[in-house]
Amino acid sequence: MVRSLNGRTIVRLALVGVAAASLGACAKKAQPAYPTTTTPPVAQQPQTPLPPSGPGDVGTAQTGALPGSQQDFVVNVGDRVYFDTDQHDVRADAEPILAAQAAWLRRYPSVNVRIEGNADERGTREYNLALGARRANAVRDFLVGQGLESSRIATISFGKEQPIDPGSGEDAWQRNRNARTAIVSGAR
């Protein structure tokens, strides 16, 4: 095929027939249109994680939290228990907290809760979702074992997506391996 594009020396150009044909076909529909729901970034903050609470918080509060309120539960009972690396067994140090949670929930029978399982960053995303679910269910099973109706307790896993400690290191990982008992309804 002989072509002259701009009047300079003409050379023999072996235009690949098949390729040219297919490209010609593609060229007419080569406009990529990918609708996007949001183009400009809009800064949105997720819900602020609650400050860590744990064994040390139990019974140390000097607040006037309304009995039966979420604050009462968080401050005077403790809403979070912790786990060992890669484990989902309820630790001995978590049992008194969960027993206190169960007692509090028996006292306020209209309260429903959701157990949120969490994992540290030392694992991959999908596996840690499954691991967090195991932890949430271990807490749920413990509470049910304390006489709570399972219908009052939902579970979810946040995997490693919602660390309460943004640091990297054993201390942060330890805090981030937890299950939080969140009150979803019925509190004062």
């Binding site: 072509r3 002259s4 050379v11 490209l23 990918y34 729901t37 991959t124 979702l129 499954a130």
Partner: protein
């Protein structure tokens, strides 16, 4: 070196690399010290003004990033102002040791962009390719990617991967309060845009191997949902509601099914849904965690992560859930198996000794090779030609970034996208 000789030498070198890497512990160092000389290519500015210069720069950057090519410094070029219509002065290109030359010409006529390009073997003084692309002017980057793919395929003998896109999780806001939005961009980091607004935690987007459709998981305080999202129509639909948490979706090779995990009572098992009938089948029933299902390219087998024997390991079973067999055998844990598009390898994330690695092994578990080592590497995705992997890398306390490594482990580099991102998923070649 002649081009064909070069390609043969390259193939031999890559084969040798694979052959001398029996030990996972030594793999990373050995591979990254592998010695393959990239082919010297000259990509002078295409004639036709700024868009011509821009197109040649995108092509040169693509070829450079592949690691198989070494674009020469334009300042060294002797012949200037080439036309796509004339034969280049080969002696000028031999002098600067260019083995291949890519030149072209751009013509913009109203709303029509035409690009003529030629690929030349400098030493044989032969044209290897002569093609013409037409498109609209704002599409110039895609034309550059298509030319890159044509050059890559002609010189390496393998399909290219440049006219592709990557969907990923764009992260912002800092650790502990990170906003995670689904986003999409070209494989070279250009044209990023958001697909979701950050109202829920999104993760694990995966491309359909056959269409411009993705599946991903959205996590809210009270629910976990897997979605199908058509990128062309913008239509989004839930995979359905399940009793329990649903997560870790991935398409089958024909795009007709999605494999995913459902968690009930703390136990996660694998399910597969036929997308046309919307019927689901449970594939695993053991009390261990079974996640991260990934089909073989022929659809006959499934690789997945299970901790049924203690620590997380990679297993392979039939597509009907039969005959599960553990294939990972080294120390440490193995997660996120992803079957390569060629079927040759399964990529994975390995965690051992406080470090994370991206690695590959044969589907029978043999020939394990670790391609990367860092504080936290995770979640590989394959380029459609099976030559390059993208993954996310995190430093202690830092935001995750997208990285790329080729399957030999020789070419490790950050993805040219400046923002924080994780969970990359590579598209098939665009049409």
């Amino acid at each position: 070196m002649r081009i064909k000789a070069f390609v043969a030498a390259l193939a031999a070198a890559l084969g040798a690399l694979a052959a001398v890497l029996p030990s996972p512990a030594a793999a990373q160092l050995s591979v990254t010290r592998g010695d393959v000389n990239p082919m010297a290519v000259a990509v002078p500015s295409f004639a036709g003004g700024q868009v011509g210069a821009d197109i040649s720069q995108v092509i040169a950057a693509n070829l450079q990033r592949s690691g198989l090519f070494r674009p020469l410094d334009p300042a060294s070029f002797i012949e200037k102002d080439l036309s796509a219509a004339v034969q280049p002065r080969f002696a000028d290109w031999k002098t600067i040791n260019a083995q291949a030359l890519v030149n072209g010409q751009v013509t913009v006529d109203g709303n029509r962009l035409r690009v003529d390009f030629r690929l030349w073997d400098v030493y044989r003084e032969q044209q290897l390719l002569g093609l013409q692309f037409t498109s609209s002017p704002e599409n110039w980057r895609r034309v550059a990617h298509k030319i890159s793919d044509a050059v890559y395929e002609r010189l390496s003998g393998e399909k290219g991967y440049f006219d592709t896109r990557v969907v990923f999780v764009a992260e912002s806001g800092g650790r502990g309060k990170t906003v995670k939005r689904l986003a999409i961009m070209d494989q070279d980091g250009a044209n990023p845009s958001y697909l979701t607004g950050g109202e829920s935690i999104v993760m694990t987007p995966r491309f359909s191997p056959t269409s411009q459709e993705i599946t991903y998981m959205a996590l809210r305080p009270d629910s976990a949902t897997v979605y199908l999202y058509n990128l062309q129509s913008g239509r989004r639909e839930s995979l359905g509601s399940f009793q329990g948490m649903v997560f870790a979706p991935r398409f089958s090779p024909d795009g007709g099914k999605v494999i995913f995990s459902v968690e009930r009572g703390g136990n996660s098992d694998l399910y597969v849904m036929n997308l046309s009938s919307r019927t689901s089948t449970r594939l695993t029933t053991d009390p261990g965690i079974d996640v991260s299902g990934s089909f073989s390219p022929d659809g006959s087998r499934i690789a997945f992560t299970s901790d049924r024997a203690g620590s997380p390991q990679v297993y392979v079973m039939g597509a009907d859930g039969s005959g599960a067999r553990r294939i990972s055998s080294g120390g440490g844990s193995y997660t996120t198996p992803v079957w390569s598009p060629t079927g040759e390898f399964i990529a994975f994330t390995k965690q051992t000794g406080g470090q994370f690695h991206i690695g590959v092994m044969k589907p029978d578990g043999s020939d394990e090779r670790l391609l990367t080592t860092s504080y936290l590497d995770e979640g590989p995705t394959w380029a459609p030609n099976g030559r390059v992997l993208m993954f996310s890398r995190e430093t202690p306390g830092g935001a995750p970034k997208l990285w790329m490594v080729d399957v030999t482990g020789r070419i490790l580099q950050p993805m040219p996208y400046p923002g924080a991102g994780s969970d990359p998923a590579w598209s098939p070649l665009l049409n």
